[in-house]
């Protein structure tokens, strides 16, 4: 990664130049950039005259996804609508903390024996075991045979980063193939971890569905052993998932080329409403005895966004390999943040291990998933009622929190400017941010954008 070394002054900002100019300043006792402002602000006794060692650092743009909320917050309009970041909203447009989560938190606070000692580097043991069972299935042979190492990480992002750093250090193939398009943060996570990123075709804008042929071709021509990022379900941003049969073909192709699967599972239970159904792709790969990585997030399905709870599981061929892999994962984690935060993981562990609370959770989870599915239907019906040009059936075919509308950048900008609707510039909208009340507004905006902006 090369920094943006634009210079704030006439000199270049290489370290030796900086050192040279520092030396000159030291010798002559003057700063080349003394202006009235710096003379006024520097105290009479300071030896430092307004030149910053950070002058060459430029301002970074806002994150394209999280920046949508920043822009939304700045908007004074009373009718503004935030369909940017994927955080669930109730019908009233409010964030939701699950009842079962509140219950678990109350238990934590009431328990006087609880302490805040450092977790082990790999995190809360109980949480790790339960997370592996959740994604792989309680009866998974891989778990029974101790072939899985699971480490608690900071939600999905942290799990991906730790997994990628591990692969960059210990795996012989340092290329990862990611679908096009994919979550905006994926390429940065992998690049900073030391992997090189390539893409495989995924989305077909004409059909607004899966470009399966392109996917097979691109994975088929990947070098043997390459890492492949797969969205376990509810592909972000498109909402387009392979069918079961297509997953099986992908699996066969990948195994024949020794491609290493790295699953990103951020929506288990949230996509279809069923935890098991949403884990099928992962379990299919594990069932054939092969190896894979899985990054899990509890941000959406347990509404624990800000607590940063997730887990990285690495399924290995043998128990002793899993054990060694775990020891090396610790060496990645220790210099990054030492050990993970306890609060969110404790909540998850309480819920997963208690049968009643687990059942309560599945009910609340299904309610969230169902509300989103109904919003899809509402939006589709509203567009059809307006006679909005185009085929909008992809809205009800796609799955998960997001809809890839197919709107272009200009249309998106139009909707933000004229209708105060906030979304990412790739045309992705978060269905979780819609309600019965706001669907008409969105439908009007889409209709206007499609008919007035090309």
């Amino acid at each position: 990664m090369h920094p943006q070394l634009t210079s704030a002054s006439s000199s270049t900002s290489s370290p030796s130049d900086r050192r040279l100019s520092a030396l000159v300043r030291h010798l002559t006792g003057s700063s080349p950039e003394i202006d009235s402002q710096s003379i006024l602000s520097a105290s009479p006794t300071s030896g430092f005259h307004g030149d910053s060692v950070f002058s060459h650092i430029v301002r970074a743009p806002e994150d394209p996804i999280l920046g949508v909320t920043v822009a939304y917050n700045k908007d004074p309009s009373p009718v503004k609508l935030n369909l940017g970041v994927g955080a669930y909203r109730t019908e009233e447009g409010k964030p939701l903390v699950l009842n079962v989560v509140r219950k678990a938190e109350q238990m934590l606070v009431n328990d006087r024996s609880r302490v805040k000692e450092y977790l082990p580097i790999v995190g809360l043991a109980e949480f790790n075991k339960l997370s592996a069972k959740l994604i792989l299935g309680a009866e998974s042979p891989a778990i029974r045979e101790n072939r899985v190492t699971t480490v608690q990480c900071l939600s999905g992002t942290g799990s991906l980063r730790v997994g990628a750093e591990f692969l960059a250090k210990h795996y012989h193939q340092r290329t990862i193939y990611i679908p096009h398009p994919t979550w905006g943060n994926h390429p940065k996570v992998f690049t900073l971890a030391g992997l090189s990123v390539k893409t495989y075709r995924y989305y077909n804008p004409v059909t607004r569905g899966l470009n399966f042929q392109g996917l097979l071709e691109d994975l088929g021509s990947a070098p043997s052993g390459a890492i492949v990022l797969l969205h376990a379900c509810a592909h972000n941003p498109t909402g387009v998932d392979p069918t079961f049969q297509q997953w099986e073909q992908i699996r066969q192709l990948m195994r024949s080329k020794c491609l290493l699967p790295f699953f990103d599972s951020a929506y288990q239970g949230f996509a279809s409403g069923s935890l098991d159904a949403d884990a099928q792709s992962v379990r299919m790969f594990v069932a054939d005895g092969g190896e894979c990585l899985v990054a899990q997030s509890y941000a959406k399905n347990m509404g624990l966004y800000g607590e940063r709870v997730g887990a990285l599981s690495i399924v290995c061929r043998a128990a002793d390999v899993a054990s060694k892999v775990e020891s090396q994962l610790k060496l990645v984690i220790r210099p990054m943040y030492s050990n993970p935060p306890i609060h969110g993981a404790s909540i998850v562990a309480i819920i997963l291990k208690d049968r009643n609370m687990y059942n309560e959770w599945t009910i609340e989870l299904k309610e969230m998933a169902d509300r989103i599915i109904s919003m899809r239907q509402q939006l589709f019906d509203a567009l059809r009622a307006r006679g909005t040009p185009g085929d909008w059936s992809h809205i009800i075919k796609q799955i998960g929190m997001f809809t890839f509308t197919g709107l272009n950048k200009e249309q998106v900008a139009f909707m933000t400017k004229e209708y105060h609707i906030y979304m990412t510039s790739d045309g992705r909208i978060s269905m979780a941010g819609l309600s019965l009340k706001t669907v008409p507004q969105l439908a009007d905006a889409i209709h206007a954008a499609v008919t007035r902006v090309v």
Binding site: P3, P15, R18, R19, A22, L23, S38, G47, F48, G50, D51, S52, V53, I57, A60, P61, D63, V85, A87, P95, V101, R114, V115, K116, Y118, P120, L154, S155, G158, R161, H170, Y171, R174, N185, K188, V189, L192, R255, L260, M284, A287, D288, E291, G306, E307, R308, C316, R317, K324, V325, L331, R334, P335, M336, Y337, S338, P340, P341, I342, G344
Partner: protein, 461 residues
């Protein structure tokens, strides 16, 4: 057979903590088929007939070797495994009560109850963390009326305790000061080197600890900082140096600041014990404030693990004091850009606790009292240990360094073999560099520990 080949290769060529090189692994892979297929069909309930493809027995991770346990955190693991009744854990720096129990501060419990009653939501924090926390943490560090705060010249980003904040700063250095070196004290906290290694920031050491005086090698420190290339980052412990417990005097801090300014170095503070060292938040921040008052640009990593007992919540911050508000804005934006691909945004729980405690005058005062209590207990334990050592040791050795050192740790001067003897014979767990955590010591155990130290010191070399 394939696995045997791989294991023997692994044993022959790999150093203990490294894995096989990619070239070695590739060579092996060339000799093996990518996959050997065994097709079988299995009937399952949900899916009908599936064709299962079994792949080769070789793991892609066969070349991964077992890493050694963490030298600090591994001590607690070993302690837990010990069944001896006299065992004492003086390894990791986590505060213990006189009864040697972990301690959750009363103000923390109160804050958590408040948070639950209020029904706070769990939405994502901004990448830079909780605004109320960032404001509170900067004010705590610099003083609320410090000009750098009034002039908005501080970029503050919530980080994952001290480690995470240091890592963000290291990533900033790697990206924007390519080739710049960090100079760190010899010795220093064991994880510092790992952080800079993984962030790919080169480092070297400056002399710090003088084993002859069991004190600060000030001349060596100044000389080595002077010798570092202009524009190096100098890692300093704000107070309660870890592992030695030896801090510079105010006069020495002035001289350190002088030489840093002379060389246009950038001071980089690790502040993990503010309030915990002396019992006073302001006194423990004096070194940082001294540098800031000189209009220097400074990096400071903070942790609330010890002073608020929030170890497992992972709450801290990286602060960058810049010469202008504009620079601070730019630096903050780039810190965010480094945090996003690491963990997206930081955990909310610990940040809320800190914001609630610091933001409420009653809770804040209660916190100060609890902190004084914790620091006070450690001072008492130092005194008792010193008294026990002086009374029991007939050799005339000067043990007063125990009283002069400050903070959670004492650098005993025991070497590796002696430290191991402490564990093997006396079941006293400590790190191999001779560091003991006084936070894990009770008054009741001081005499036992004194016996162990005297025995190890005099009878083992």
């Amino acid at each position: 057979m394939a696995s045997a080949l791989l294991s023997s290769l692994a044993a022959a060529s790999a150093p203990p903590s490294a894995s096989l090189s990619p070239r070695e692994i590739n060579k092996m892979k060339l000799n093996l088929p990518c996959t050997s297929f065994k097709n079988s069909s299995i009937k399952t309930k949900s899916f009908g007939r599936i064709r299962m493809v079994a792949t080769t027995n070789v793991s892609r991770f066969d070349g991964v070797t077992m890493a050694p346990p963490d030298p600090i955190l591994g001590v607690s693991e070993a302690f837990r495994a010990d069944t001896n009744a006299m065992k004492l854990n003086l390894g990791v720096g986590a505060y213990r009560t006189e009864e040697l129990q972990p301690y959750v501060l009363d103000v923390v419990k109160k804050a958590e109850n408040l948070m639950l009653e209020r029904g706070d939501n769990k939405e994502y924090l901004p990448i830079e963390g909780l605004a109320a926390f960032n404001k509170a943490t900067a004010e705590l560090l610099f003083g609320a009326d410090n000009p750098v705060i009034k002039q908005q010249r501080v970029a503050t980003v919530q980080g994952l305790s001290g480690t995470g904040s240091l890592r963000l700063a290291a990533a900033l250095i790697e990206r924007y000061f390519p080739g710049a070196k960090v100079v760190i004290s010899s010795p220093t906290w064991g994880n510092h080197k790992n952080i800079f290694n993984d962030a790919r920031v080169p480092w070297s050491e400056y002399r710090y600890y003088d084993p002859k005086t069991v004190g600060l090698d000030f001349e060596g420190m100044i000389s080595d900082i002077k010798a570092a290339p202009d524009g190096s980052f100098v890692l300093l412990h704000g107070c309660a140096h870890n592992p030695t417990g030896i801090d510079p005097t105010p006069e020495q801090w002035e001289k350190i600041a002088d030489v840093i300014q002379e060389k246009n170095h950038i001071p980089f503070f690790d502040v993990a014990y503010q309030g915990f060292a002396s019992g006073s938040l302001d006194a423990d921040a004096a070194s940082v404030r001294l540098f800031v008052a000189r209009d220097m640009e400074v990096l400071i990593a903070q942790s609330y693990s010890k002073n608020l007992g929030l170890y497992a919540e992972r709450i801290g911050a990286i602060n960058v004091v810049c010469s202008s508000a504009d620079a601070a804005t730019r630096v903050k934006s780039q810190l965010k850009r480094l945090a996003r691909p690491m963990y997206s945004n930081p955990p909310v729980h610990g940040a809320r606790i800190v914001a609630n405690v610091v933001g409420d005058p009653t809770l804040f005062n209660e916190w100060k009292a609890e902190m004084e209590m914790m620091a006070g207990r450690i001072k008492n334990v130092r005194q008792k240990l010193f008294d026990s050592l002086s009374a029991k040791d007939k050799s005339g050795k000067d043990w007063s360094f125990i009283l002069k050192q400050i903070g959670m740790f004492s650098f005993t001067g025991l070497n590796k073999a002696q430290s191991e003897h402490m564990t093997n014979k006396w079941h006293v767990y400590m790190t191999k560099d001779g560091r003991i955590s006084l936070a894990g010591l009770s008054l009741a155990k001081c005499e036992y520990l004194a016996d162990a130290i005297i025995d190890s010191f005099h009878n083992v070399s």
